[in-house]
């Protein structure tokens, strides 16, 4: 016989969490959809119930309080319209898909057709055989070794998103543009991308999404396939959200992801990558900057499961006036993954004494012949650099701008497309100019 008093405090806490999670899940309804999708959504709901919702006492959430990402009540946030700069990716020929307040906007979007591409809207997904095996599958795999209940919740709740299958080398990028009209709408989007062997795609994401958002991207990158991913979020101050990126890279495949973030009250960007075939590569990079109430968290996990793979993590943050930057990054090298080349760098530039950079870099290595390095630093702009530039006539403001850009430059090097990299560079400069006062 067990009584409440006889339970260990740990078991009691777990039961309490399960109960509150169950209560939370009861308030939710599953989106409508075909039977296969409903099945996968139900499975995801069960995962959330089992894993329980994240709690600030979880080690994995030690630096970022998940409460406001989960709370039933979502605070309205003013719609921030950028009217003083050219639109994103201007001049880059792309297939543009628009989501307004988290709902696909057919009128504003290009037709869902492109050579080497099969694109279907999640909300209109019929009997799509390839997606059945993938929707929620990488997310489910990504629940180990660390639980990611918010990703499972996304799989269960996402009403919209796109399913993209790439069968060839596609030169025209697919661009997902997120617009906001409503001050209070929340958005849950789930995208699935499957690149067949040898296929290639550039996937762009940009825009403020919603007052609160949860975005999940699952990418299956086949043997020799290449996925370039570039995401920008900026300058809206009130942004709150979580992104979950799952990518499985096959033999000789390449995955590159770059994120540019400016401002936002609470952003948690998680990425989980598996290198499952010999000679695969994954490069993840992020530049983030903000001030005041800015809280930005990059949580990255790269698993080397096959020999001869290479991975890079390059994350940099510029923090000002009380801003908080978080980096949790791990490289896991399985026993089979000999000759792994792993690199991880996380740095922050503190523009004053009120900011915080919280970093947890980790290596876990079970193979004996590998090359892995990691480094994490935070510092301020070097007075020697400042004086050198100013002694040549460069104003204090311009010198600071040059040095901040120089600090972030290494992350931009991870973008392969020169046009996009240049667009990012100019935008970064513009954003810094506007927010440097």
């Amino acid at each position: 016989m067990t009584t409440a008093a006889a339970k260990s405090p740990r078991a009691a806490r777990r039961e309490a969490r399960q109960a509150s999670t169950a209560a939370y899940l009861e308030t939710l309804t599953l989106p409508e959809g075909p039977a296969w999708l409903t099945g996968l959504r139900k499975d995801a709901m069960s995962r959330v119930a089992e894993l329980t919702l994240p709690d600030r006492r979880d080690e994995y959430w030690g630096y970022t309080n998940p409460e406001r990402l989960i709370a039933q009540e979502v605070r309205a946030a003013e719609v921030f319209r950028i009217t003083d700069e050219p639109p994103m990716y201007q001049g880059i020929d792309r297939l543009k898909l628009v989501f307004t307040d988290g709902v696909f906007d057919a009128e504003a979007s290009d037709s869902l057709e492109g050579e080497g591409l099969e694109i279907t809207r999640l909300a209109e997904a019929g009997d799509i055989h390839w997606a059945k095996d993938l929707y929620g599958a990488l997310e489910a795999k990504g629940q180990k070794p660390v639980a990611r209940p918010l990703a499972a919740l996304n799989t269960a709740q996402a009403r919209d998103g796109v399913l993209i299958r790439v069968t060839g080398k596609v030169s025209r990028p697919v661009s997902l543009a997120y617009y906001r009209k409503s001050e209070s709408a929340t958005a849950v989007l789930h995208h699935v991308v499957k690149l067949e062997a040898g296929a290639e795609l550039t996937l762009l994401e940009n825009g403020p999404v919603a007052a609160r958002s949860s975005m999940c991207l699952e990418a299956e990158i086949g043997d020799g396939a290449v996925l370039h991913h570039v995401r920008t979020m900026g300058r809206d101050h009130e942004r709150k959200g979580v992104t979950n990126l799952f990518a499985r890279v096959g033999k000789g495949g390449l995955f590159k992801s770059f994120s540019l973030s400016m401002n936002g009250r609470l952003m948690r960007n998680e990425a989980m990558v598996w290198l499952t075939g010999e000679g695969g590569s994954a490069h993840l990079a992020g530049a983030a900057m903000g001030d005041g109430t800015f809280h930005h968290d990059d949580t990255v996990f790269i698993a080397h499961e096959a020999p001869g793979c290479e991975s890079r993590q390059v994350y940099k943050k510029v923090l000002r006036d009380g801003a908080v930057g978080v980096f949790q990054g791990k490289i896991l090298v399985e026993q089979a993954a000999q000759l792994t080349d792993g690199y991880q760098l996380s740095q922050s530039l503190l523009m004053d004494e009120n900011c915080q950079f919280l970093a947890k870099p980790e290596l876990e290595i079970y193979a004996d012949n590998v090359k892995c390095s990691h480094g994490s630093t935070s510092g301020e702009i070097s007075p020697d650099h400042m004086f050198y530039l100013r002694s040549r006539g460069v104003s204090e403001e311009e010198a600071k701008l040059l040095l901040v850009l120089a600090f972030l430059a290494e992350t931009l090097d991870e973008i392969s497309n020169d046009h996009i990299a240049e667009d990012m560079r100019l935008r970064l400069r513009r954003w810094l100019e506007k927010h440097s006062h």
Binding site: Y388, R390, S391, R392, G393, L403, A406, F407
Partner: protein, 252 residues
């Protein structure tokens, strides 16, 4: 051109007086050399004139063309024509040398109310000046001073000087770390810039640089002051007998 009068300077964070009543006048078109033992305050003088943080002027004045220097920001001093060639040029990862040169040139032009230089004119100018200093295209493309040898760094300083065309050039131990060939290159670069409306203040430990850059006046500095001034022969005397004799003579 440069007029320093009774300059007293201490370290900001420490109760340590470095310059103790230094006076010096540099006329347009002239080359003045300052020599002196370690710790005499030579580098401090160059930093205080160019506006580096960390020093406090407790007395005295310094003017450029009659206008006060010491209250101006470093970039204002630069725009007014002051240039310091650093003893230890700073490496700045992530900032391209070309971007740096162009930003500096345009910033100074802007401060003087002149139009920005066009990309084409800038490229032509920088290529011509770099060629004279045997600075190749690769060095121009790299981040500022990153991976440069000691000699390359000093040549890069002179390139900046040639591009910015300042009127008052201060060279802080530009000869340190240079081999004979590099010293010749750097000196030729400096000599090519000599002009009736431009002056040089050459700070050095050794006479050998002054074989290449011929000074009009040589000053000996010790304990924060100029203790003796004379012609080029003074440098030769230092080279032959060291500072001890001169200092003893001054103190006597």
């Amino acid at each position: 051109m440069l007029e320093i009068n009774n300059l007293h300077v201490k370290l900001e964070d420490e109760d340590k007086q470095i310059l103790k009543g230094l006076s010096l006048t540099v006329e347009p078109g002239s080359v003045h050399a300052i020599m002196g033992p370690n710790g005499s305050g030579k580098s401090t003088l160059s930093y205080v004139l160019s506006g580096r943080d960390g020093y406090e002027v407790t007395d005295g004045t310094a003017t450029l063309d009659g206008e006060d220097l010491l209250d101006a920001e470093p970039e204002e001093r630069a725009a007014r024509g002051l240039f310091l060639a650093f003893q230890y040029p700073v490496e700045i990862p992530g900032v391209g040398n070309m971007t740096f040169l162009r930003t500096a040139l345009n910033a100074q032009r802007k401060a003087r109310g002149e139009a920005e230089i066009s990309s084409g004119d800038f490229l032509k100018l920088v290529r011509a000046k770099a060629k004279d200093l045997k600075i190749d295209a690769e060095m121009l493309k790299r981040p500022v001073n990153v991976g440069f040898s000691g000699g390359e760094k000093k040549r890069n300083e002179i390139l900046q000087m040639a591009m910015l065309e300042p009127k008052m050039c201060i060279l802080d131990e530009t000869d340190s770390g240079l081999d004979v060939d590099a010293m010749k290159l750097v000196s030729d670069g400096v000599n090519a810039l000599r002009a009736p409306d431009r002056a040089f203040l050459v700070i050095t430990h050794y006479q050998r640089l002054l074989d290449h850059i011929k000074p009009d006046v040589v000053h000996i500095m010790a304990a924060g002051r100029i203790v003796k001034s004379g012609g080029p022969e003074l440098a030769l005397e230092v080279e032959k007998n060291g500072y001890a004799d001169i200092l003893a003579e001054v103190q006597a």
